[in-house]
Amino acid sequence: MEYEVMVGLEIHAELKTQTKMFCGCRNEFGAKPNTLVCPVCLGMPGTLPVINRTAVEYAVRAGLAMNCRISSFSRMDRKNYFYPDMPKAYQISQYDLPLCRDGYVEIYIDGGWKKIGIERIHLEEDAGKLVHDPGGKGSFIDYNRCGVPLIEIVSRPDISSPEEAGAFLEAVKTILEYIEVSDCKMQEGSLRADVNLSVRRSGEPPGTRTEMKNINSIHAVQRAVRAEAGRQIAVIEGGGRVIQETRRWDDTRGESRPMRSKEEAMDYRYFPEPDLVPLVMDRKWLEEIRKSMPELPASRQKKYMESFGIPAYDAHLITQYKSLADIFEEAAKVCGNPKLVSNWIMTDILRRINEDGNFLTASCLDGQKLGKVMAMLDRGDISPVSAREVLDIIVREGGDPESIADSMGLKVQRDENLIAGAVEEALEQNPKAVADYTSGKEKAFGFLMGRTMAILKGRADPAQVREMLKRRLESLKE
């Protein structure tokens, strides 16, 4: 029996503004509890919210980057519910007039591009952090995160597999990094995903949807999608019906469990926020924001594939990180051989990134320097091994690639006198091999090549050395 899986993701991304959504408290991670708070974000009596302009601009950037229509009139609403991490017992969010609507994100999957629809993107404030006492005696609350600006990105249920879910989440993450509105550190919670999933037999109407909340890694999302689809299919095959519910995904166990259900669905009693006035996005402001946007990953990926002939897989990997793509483009320009640069990145640089997660931010390598190293490699001035050595130094300390190569004596020797001298030395040190060669044993040539190269510490063009050695040996024969 063929089943189709319909998945929608709701992604919450913290915006990396300096301050919170409605007050001047710093938007920072890791501070001591309840030190980045004020009467406004603590919901103290008489306090009032004031909207952070930059948060609005970041949200619009996200909407433009995901091909959305930006609403010319939108407003904030109160979403009313009680939970200790929400001091006002309502969250200021957007209900029926969100800032962005009807967009899409392209993912590269199974050799082609697929559009995943974006239903809406809206602005809201984050809640505080609740920590449960392991002794079971109660819970503790830290409101540092309370009031941090969030955008909620709601996809259409166009995702049909765990791989697509992962690709979509990754694409969104990359886009947000590119437009510099979020640092998307899933492990720190600045990017979280809820998964809505239903299954159906082909041709039938959509099945009942379940929701899994606050999954915080791409792999966990994929695992959750796979598991939940499997679970729902098993329920149906077993003759049962899928219940509409919210489930908690436990990644260590690899399973989900229903959360405590209430007798009725939550009634949030949404109504327009009376303490705030509407948001009117005029053409001028919109154009300013549009102009300030950097080029997006999918467009860069296409450019690399089409203009540089880089394979899709490589182009995709390189554009995963904005800084890496920046380095690539710069290096390709300096060196003039994009394919060489991209191959090098795929092998050497990606290895460095895998070994050290902070590589891209912490290293002293930039596109210029990488380009110079690649140029030397391209010309044959250094060998791949030497290139790696030069890069080790540059990554650690920076510096000029040419000078480093010179000072380390890594550059390939082309000086004929030097090579002639090395040849002489090799011949002198190995008279038996010479004798073998002149008496017709060709193998001895290889041995003498090796000895000559060793004297030159490998820093010579083998072709040039071969030619000079041969000429010298031939001259001996006469």
Binding site: P45, G46, R78, F271
Partner: protein
């Protein structure tokens, strides 16, 4: 001891001349509070040490010759729903009985910067919900004119304190008439400013789209002086308007104003007390003497103002009061075993009956299945009401109306019947729904010797015009003098 029971303008004049000091004024006020507050229960917190310190500082500034506000050194009272740093702010509720805010409301901050002296906090209906100041954990406020009667609400303490001479002026708040009605009952002047003119930051929210902070004073000039200080844009309040500040005292005594005064026929058709009607109409004739022309206007949606008001204000209140759970501040039930119990018990025990009634009403009005026909509908009716006023203002400049159908009723008379209590607000709530300014000025006494006030309603940001009209009535009226209160301010001679 000199009778230091002065208006703001008189006190200000004497302070500048050096004939009296702020300390003297403040000590005298504290003395009067000591002697008289028990009778009327206007003040719930008196901060004598703070007041004297502020008075000394004001004196220093006055002596130094630096330019100071007319309010410098003047003793004031603040309604207990306006946050005062370091001074308990209770909203007359068990929920906030021990809440000491670490911040000032903007309006308070401005007055303190101007050098006014904080005597203490004034009694009110709990969370500003009420029209009699009987819903208070500190007991009812009693009307200085007749202590068996209410002072009005919810700013009852603010009005009673000024009427009894316990302070030179006070701040109140008005969501559906809570400044105007007590001012009327106590025979003093009260202003509800245009929505957005005075910052709401630090005013404990009742209904966000209706609340405004305003002055309660002995006369119109004082009211303008206080408004000068508190009005103006506040970046901490997104609903505060960025207007250029004006001097509300300018042109107050100009007579011969050719204004058109409109009398809403629907208001005068309802059951108002005869004495109230006559006093109001007499005041209108005084305006005519001053050069005004009066005529009828119509506010056809009048009957719908009460349901619209109560649904909107209760809905907003239900959300604004949801934050009170005892976790970060306020009353916390000590025995709760889980967080849900903590919420339910803290709120069940912390809130009084009237508050609970309105929160339940408001929650219901917002709930699924009801929101469209109750809350959203009320918002549509609101637009109709605002349109009514706008249309009326095409044929007049000021609307003259009663404040309340009767003068001050007896304590306990209406507490058993909430709906009846709500219906009395018929003349005041429309103004809040439309966001308009309205001034109450005393305009006579009824046959029982109780004060009647006239309400002057204007277009948005027309406070100056309202003050002029109010002053015209005041000059011809003279100050009200009760039979049996020795503490009332002395009469000003009638000027003609």
């Amino acid at each position: 001891m000199k009778d230091l029971n002065l208006t703001v303008s008189d006190a200000s004049r004497l302070l500048r001349k050096g004939e009296v000091s702020s300390r003297e004024l403040t000590e005298a006020a504290l003395e009067r509070i000591q002697q008289d507050n028990g009778r009327i229960n206007a003040f719930v917190t008196v901060c004598a040490d703070i007041a004297l310190r502020q008075a000394d500082e004001a004196d220093r500034r006055l002596r130094s010759g630096e330019e100071v506000s007319p309010l410098c050194g003047i003793p004031m009272g603040i309604k207990d729903n306006l946050c005062t740093r370091g001074v308990r702010t209770t909203c007359a509720s068990r929920m906030l009985e021990n809440f000491v805010p670490p911040y000032n409301a903007t309006a308070v901050e401005r007055l303190l910067s101007a050098g006014a002296v904080l005597l203490g906090k004034l009694n009110m209906d709990e969370f500003a919900m009420g029209s009699s100041s009987e819903h208070s954990i500190f007991g009812s406020v009693r009307n200085p004119w007749d202590t068996s009667r209410v002072a009005g609400g919810s700013s009852g303490g603010s009005a009673a304190a000024v009427a009894a001479g316990l302070c030179s002026f006070s701040l109140g708040s008005d969501t559906g008439g809570s400044i105007r009605q007590p001012a009327s009952f106590c025979g003093v002047v009260g202003l509800k400013p245009t929505y957005g003119l005075v910052s709401r930051y630090g005013l404990v929210a009742f209904a966000s789209s209706l609340d405004q902070v305003g002055p309660i004073t002995r006369d119109v000039t004082d009211c303008a002086l206080v408004l000068n200080e508190i009005a103006g844009h506040d970046p901490r309040d997104s609903t505060s308007v960025g207007r250029d500040t004006e001097d509300y005292t300018s042109g107050l005594d100009r007579d011969g104003m050719k204004i058109r005064v409109g009398l809403p026929k629907e208001y005068f058709e309802t059951g108002i007390d005869e004495d109230v009607r006559n006093s109001v109409l007499k005041a209108v004739s005084m305006l005519e003497e001053a050069g005004a022309v009066s005529g009828d206007v119509s506010l056809p949606s009048t009957d719908n103002t009460i349901p619209a008001y109560y649904l909107i204000s209760s809905a907003e209140a239900s959300a604004n009061l949801a934050r009170y759970d005892g976790i970060r501040y306020g009353y916390r039930n000590p025995g709760a075993r889980d967080v849900e119990e903590l919420y339910r018990m803290s709120r069940g025990e912390g809130f009084g009956k009237e508050v609970k009634r309105r929160v339940l009403l408001g929650t219901h009005a917002l709930s699924a299945g009801y929101q469209d026909k109750l809350y959203s509908k009320a918002l549509k009716v609101r637009r109709m009401i605002a349109a009514d006023f706008a249309k009326a203002f095409e044929s007049c400049d000021v609307i003259a109306a009663p404040v309340y159908p009767t003068t001050a009723f007896r304590l306990g008379e209406k507490t058993g019947n909430p709906l009846e209590m709500y219906l009395g607000d018929i003349f005041t709530v429309g103004v809040n729904l439309a966001g308009l300014p309205a001034l109450t000025v005393p305009c006579g006494l009824d046959r029982k010797g109780l004060p009647v006030g006239i309400q002057l309603i204007g277009r948005p940001f027309s406070e100056n015009l309202l003050f002029m009209a109010g002053r015209a009535i005041e000059r011809r009226m003279g100050r009200l003098k009760p039979e049996n209160s020795g503490n009332m301010a002395s009469d000003a001679p009638a000027e003609g």
